[in-house]
Amino acid sequence: MSEKWYQKTAHEIRDAVRGGKVSALEVTESHLGRIAEVDSKVKAYVDVWNDAARAQAQAVDARIKAGEDVGPLAGVPIGLKDVFCTKLGTTTCCSKILKGYRSPFDGTAVERLANAGAVFLGKLNMDEFAMGSSTENSSIHTTRNPWNLDCVPGGSSGGSAAAVAADECAIALGSDTGGSIRQPAACVGCVGLKPTYGRISRYGLVAFASSLDQIGPFTKDVEDCAIALNIMCGRDPKDSTSANLPVPDFTKALTTDVAGLRIGLPKEYFTDALNAEMRDKVMAAVAVLEKEGARVVEVTLPHTDYAIAVYYIICTAEASSNLARFDGVRYATRAADAKTTMDMYTRTKTDGYGPEVRRRIMLGTYVLSSGYYDAYYLKAQKVRSLIRRDFTEAFEKCDVILTPTSPTPAFKIGEKAANPLDMYLSDIYTISVNLAGIPGLSMPCGLTASGLPAGLQIIGKPFDEETILRTAYAYEQKRGFEMGTPTAVK
């Protein structure tokens, strides 16, 4: 019988592999077959590890045969955003400057997933160095939205989101600096979580903006999200910013009991800038939870309008510093026949970076430069304190905050490419969460009339992913519809 394993959730695959109903190799073959079938259209992957994936799956099968417990992701096929250091294949951040780079080590999140029995299928597309909201800034190709191939899949983790939505892997790993997990998850209709800053070690995640970056999973359902978190979270001596706090069993939060849950709706997020259809979908989701006994309270996040300015000062400043390491000495594609070291630095960077990365390095260098530091960077850090305070005060009145993930559904490829500021403004609902360092999840809350997914964002208190997961699970179980297979890859 040829069961379509590629359509299954990670927990279904894990149970079947552990229960001897299917081999890890059969599951992997099913996904590799799916990739061969649809990825020429979707272009989620930048590198598919066919042989290495089979070898990993066979190793899982051998361990099962030997009576070993292979772990909570036994035989589950996973795709990785190209920002994660892996010994297998290359790690390029979809940048020309890192073409051919082979990491000598696996990052902590990747290593923990491997130890849990996962099978890695390959590397997924992204905006160069995770800078963008559409994957159009990838130096390799643009990923397509599986619901409409003329639309973007969101970004920067657009390849990860599209791969999960199009059934090209069961789970994908992404990173989120200003919305790069939640916005693409919303665009393609899957579940994506950015945990609290510090929950997951960033060791082996190529840095973009170190005070904002966080790793998280893309999954088909909320249960898989909890399982992935259980494996990846926790203190890591290799990342001094990873939080030294106990990690709960997140699957215990998966109940539909939301009686008395206080849902905050921030009035600043429900303005005229929000597409009416998106507002209706989000309010319908709120109504589902109210029916289950949750209560709605209005909250206020008064500094919302300043978040984009703060974000683009801090992230460009940190990026300009982080990206200085790609100088052509220890790695990176060195410009040929440079005469002096300075010449080598300059030509390596000039040839290696795409326009958006170059623009952000320029902005970051400017805001940190002598005479402007106080006016921009220091000012932004002060307003960042105010934004965090807004959330602290709002969470005195509520347990979770519900918002749209994005003001509009996925936009057309090319639509915003000409205007960087316009592209930046599309992150309005996600970036405050990174600035405050708190967790946020996006999940689908329906399809628009034009057949594109709408995303519901659930924001939680610091280190309270459990209440987010409970809210998400309750909504998922009670919403009364399935997203189904995206139309363009049916």
Binding site: R102, I308, V329, A332, M342, M362, Y366, S369, S385
Partner: protein, 100 residues
């Protein structure tokens, strides 16, 4: 009034170690001016007495025991380098003395 001039763009490009062609410079003048204009919105806020948020987590120094742990083999550490002599990374001359 323009916040950014072509001279500013050239100065910042020098700091960032980037060489820009004329068309890119002109484009960046407009784009950076737009974006920095949006950032000026922060001046609407009085932030006197507000502590800057340097980091999310309230942690200070994170120490570990000072013990030697395994590190990368030299061969592996050098494997991505554009140019080595098998022991060290090689780079062009640091100083251009002009007469060589």
């Amino acid at each position: 009034m323009a916040r950014i001039t072509k001279t500013d763009v050239e100065y910042v490009a020098g700091l960032a170690q980037l060489t820009l062609d004329e068309a890119t410079k002109e484009k960046l003048v407009g784009e950076m001016d737009d974006i920095l204009g949006h950032m000026d919105k922060l001046n609407e806020l009085n932030t006197d007495g507000i502590e800057p948020m340097m980091h999310v987590l309230e942690m200070t120094n994170v120490f570990r025991e000072d013990v030697v742990e395994p590190s990368l083999d030299r061969e592996i550490a050098l494997m991505n380098a554009p140019k080595t002599d098998g022991e060290y990374f090689l780079v062009p001359k640091i100083l251009d003395l002009g007469d060589e």
